[in-house]
Symmetry: none
Subunit: 250 residues, 2 copies
DNA sequence: CGGGTTTTTGCATGAATTTGCATACTTTTG
DNA sequence: CAAAAGTATGCAAATTCATGCAAAAACCCG
């Protein structure tokens, strides 16, 4: 059997069934597993497949949603992401909302972090799934078209049954007077439930959103444990948000 | 024996079997392997064949993966998508699984269709959300990394509480003997529950997957109402799958 | 036909590729 | 954390390959 012939059969198997085990291939092609491994490595180097422990997978599944439009204030959001990730510890149960800032966080999570993530956003779920060592659980429900997060009674209900260590929400409006605000009633209900469920709440927001107010109130600032922006904690914009040392600035 | 004559025979052999071994050719044509090698090199230079270690292979057979990250057998899947969409009617409740074929369906749904879609795949959910007039409900759960669909007890449980009009599943293996099969236990449980929940079940699969068997059984062919491939319904490959006019071929 | 030229062929040699095994190492799993 | 499964690495045997060369065959043209 020619090597290239094996390669074709392997590619076919993967394209047909999305994944293969070295074990099965070695039986199917009647060669040693070493040879199969060498084949898989070659195909992976050519970028045709994705090598994983014990076999290989189709690349097709991974990240079809990368062609996103440009993210506004991307650099600031990356800074926020790094700060936020410093809160993540091993074996934590972490609840993530949706939005572009949260997406940056999901992207930048270190590959060696072991933790379980819950999210109401399909995009965030898919991004999280790229990291080997984390478990991803999606809280399903009606997909709100504008925000692309799951909403509705079932989401609220599921949230009432969990108790995450930490919850990260990106807000639409934040001000000392009105607290956290948003413009979509359904989304507000979900975020309220998220805050209610979690032991600690972190709000991530670029400085530009500070002192803006939307139509519907989510919560007071006092309910927030961490407030994370791209600015240094001692920044003057932030000082007015602090009452009795809460929230903690990062 | 003239060189050109040998070349013709070699090309015929390759077109016939898609590959040749230098060894076999040397016996067949009663010349030394060196000569065969020289022949193969010449043919390869003319771009007629693909020279590989130990022999040569057909060039045309060199696989339907055009670029990288491309969907395998995309055209076939688009044909399947069109056929499948013809089953969708106004106000239906339709349950979709995941996978590249289902993704093509999700993309091609007409914008004027009013219906509610349920899915266990974040990718499918996001794609569906692009269409104005449909409601999208994600069934959440633990995100299985390899298949990118939600699995686990919560998914099974949620599925037991709904009764969709139609369920579309893409299978991993399908054969008359073993029915629908897959290689991932968690995924199998979900698909079983999907079939159980739904009034009608449609299976979509490219013809290439027919008569392949994976390790875990999902269901018998008799549980399927519609079987949709890129081939015309009268195709001979399909006839053996029909017992008592079920499933209906599209 | 025939002699010179070109092309083709087979062989020898050493180099390169491929494969399976042994070993030590890493990852996964219960 | 220990057993099991999977992986990387080096190595040796077998096969295949490139190259140079000389003999054989084919070709050309008068």
């Amino acid at each position: 059997m020619l090597k290239e012939e094996r390669h074709k059969i392997i590619l076919r198997e993967i394209n047909l069934h999305n994944k293969v085990l070295s074990n099965d291939l070695s039986e199917l092609l009647v060669v040693s597993e070493d040879t199969i491994r060498r084949d898989l490595n070659e195909l992976a180097e050519q970028g045709l497949i994705l090598k994983v422990h014990g076999g290989a997978m189709s690349k097709t599944f991974h990240y079809p949603f990368n062609g996103q439009n440009q993210v506004y204030a991307l650099e600031a959001k990356k800074v926020i992401a790094d700060k936020t990730i410093s809160l993540f510890k091993k074996d934590m149960l972490i609840l993530l909302e949706g939005g572009t800032t949260i997406m940056e966080i999901a992207k930048k999570i270190p590959d060696d972090l072991q933790a379980t993530f819950l999210t109401v956003s399909p995009q965030v779920a898919l991004t999280l799934a790229e990291h080997e060592n984390i478990d991803v659980i999606t809280i399903g429900g009606r997909l709100a078209k504008n925000a692309n997060i799951h909403t509705g009674a079932s989401v609220i209900n599921e949230l009432s049954n969990i108790r995450p260590d930490l919850c990260i929400i990106g807000t639409n409006g934040i001000s000392v007077q009105s607290g956290l605000t948003d413009s979509d009633w359904e989304v507000v209900q979900v975020i309220k439930a998220m805050i209610q469920a979690s032991r600690k709440v972190a709000v991530v927001s670029i400085a530009e959103k500070f002192n803006t107010v939307q139509k519907i109130k989510i919560s007071d600032i006092t309910a927030i444990d961490y407030l994370i922006t791209e600015l240094p904690p001692e920044s003057s914009v932030l000082s007015s948000y602090i009452k009795k040392e809460k929230p903690l600035l990062l």
